[in-house]
């Protein structure tokens, strides 16, 4: 009886693990770096979406909104490297093993994201063309970093 209960409990835990791995959702928790970086990246994605919609002409360009987009990306960049401590590899994380195996490269990519967003914030973005140039330079970091340091599932 005890054994079957233990097995059932183990099964439930495994099922919960699979469910977690499947929808990749964690409650934001200050003690859980995976939850923090996942939420930060989702915000980066949403901010990028606002910038892209302006670029595509789906919404009108507004320099203050453009600046808010770049500020969001810069703020996320500032804390990003620290959200990948040594003990934060997990089955439901999309972070590639290269984040830890190639620490220097990941550090460099994270530093570049900070530097590029900083440069963009110092540049004029009064027109959509000016914003577009900065937005493109900043968002090139998404692919160049994800190529090595993020896995798809």
């Amino acid at each position: 009886m005890k054994r079957s209960l233990t097995l059932a409990a183990a099964g439930l835990i495994a099922a919960a693990g699979i469910a977690l791995a499947h929808d990749n959702h964690r409650e934001t928790d200050i003690t859980d770096p995976i939850s923090l970086r996942t939420a930060a990246m989702k915000n980066v994605g949403q901010a990028t979406g606002i910038g892209a919609r302006m670029m595509k002409g789906e919404i009108d360009y507004d320099p203050m909104t453009g600046r808010a987009v770049l500020l969001t990306l810069h703020t996320s960049a500032l804390g990003f490297f620290r959200m990948f401590p040594e003990d934060s590899q997990a089955a439901d994380s999309d972070a590639a093993p290269a984040v830890w195996e190639d620490r220097a490269g990941f550090r460099e990519a994270s530093a570049k994201f900070i530097a590029d967003t900083e440069l963009a914030l110092a540049a004029p973005i009064g027109t959509i063309e000016q914003f577009g140039a900065q937005f493109q330079a900043v968002t090139q970091n998404c692919g160049s970093c994800h190529r090595t340091y993020r896995i798809k599932r």
Binding site: G49, A52, T139, C142, G143, H146, R147, K152
Partner: protein, 293 residues
């Protein structure tokens, strides 16, 4: 299971005889007369993803096709060869027939089989005109004298003649999706995706012998050369609109503005160079695929 399959393969190969495993070539006389269009050659180079494998890892100049990338697979490690215009170490001394033989039949100039890590099964669906434009374009790229490294494969994969049998089982230049009911755009997409784009090489799962599982065309599966999984891009799982797919192929951004990771980043660098109507054509084809779980 893999080993049992291989044993069966070895027995069948012996039974069918040596000649079956010989390599076919495109004859000089069968190379069509063609005036190369270098601009189109550059587009075929982009959709073909040649640079993604043939540029040396870490090299910043994406036109120097010196090779050297190692592809770690369950069959062993493939070393991507030099295909720069160097006459000794690259393809600078090749004839057009050599090039068509390689791209359409997976046969090297010395008559040996290429391993299907080089996606000749898909490139075989590319039109001769596009291939000859690509060949002319490749000859304009820089020469590099880095010798190609040998593959490091275990037995029996180290016997390249076995590929002759593999080709009988898996290689066909016929289109995969039937033409019926496909729009003009989807037909163009079929050409790009099934042919030069060789999307199925990753997006379709493989069987024990490394052939594509056609019943699960584009249904995704384990990543053949790294961690993670390759997503299912049939309408069973990929529910984006055609314009969402086209935008992804241009920008790398999903409808949620997540951005592509892993080897798809290099693919998007290539698809971003295509004319917009070709990205729309790929989207039209993908949304017309039969849903597969």
């Amino acid at each position: 299971m893999l080993w049992r399959g291989l044993l069966a393969l070895a027995v069948i190969a012996a039974g069918l005889g040596w000649y079956v495993t010989g390599a076919e070539r495109v004859a000089e006389a069968d190379v069509p007369a063609h005036t190369p269009d270098l601009e189109n050659g550059a587009l075929v180079f982009a959709i073909g993803g040649c640079a993604s494998c043939h540029v040396a890892p870490g090299a910043s100049d994406k036109t120097v096709l010196a090779g050297g990338l190692l592809i770690h697979s369950e069959f062993g490690t493939f070393a991507v060869p030099n295909i720069s215009s160097d006459a000794t170490h690259g393809i600078g001394a090749w004839s057009a027939a050599d090039f068509l033989s390689a791209m359409k039949l997976g046969t090297a100039p010395d008559g040996r089989h290429y391993y299907p890590a080089f996606p000749f099964t898909a490139y075989a669906r590319t039109r001769d005109g596009d291939l000859l434009d690509l060949f002319a374009y490749l000859k304009t790229l820089p020469a590099d004298a880095t010798p190609s490294a040998p593959h490091a494969l275990g037995f029996p994969f180290s016997i390249s003649r076995g590929i002759g049998l593999w080709k009988l089982l898996y290689a066909t230049p016929d289109p995969v999706l039937p033409e019926d009911g496909l729009s003009e755009a989807a037909l163009r997409g079929r050409y790009l995706v099934e042919g030069p784009g060789h999307c199925a090489e990753c997006h379709t799962p493989r069987d024990a012998l490394g052939g594509l599982d056609m019943a699960r065309w584009m249904a995704g599966g384990p990543n053949p050369d790294g961690p993670g999984r390759i997503p299912n891009i049939t309408p069973a799982k990929l529910t984006w609109s055609e314009s969402d797919i086209a935008y992804y192929l241009e920008s790398g951004f999903t409808p949620d503005f997540d951005s592509a990771g892993g080897s798809m980043v290099a693919v998007i660098e290539n698809t971003a160079k295509l004319p917009p109507e070709d990205r729309a054509a790929i989207a039209a084809y993908l949304t017309a695929l039969p849903p597969r779980e």
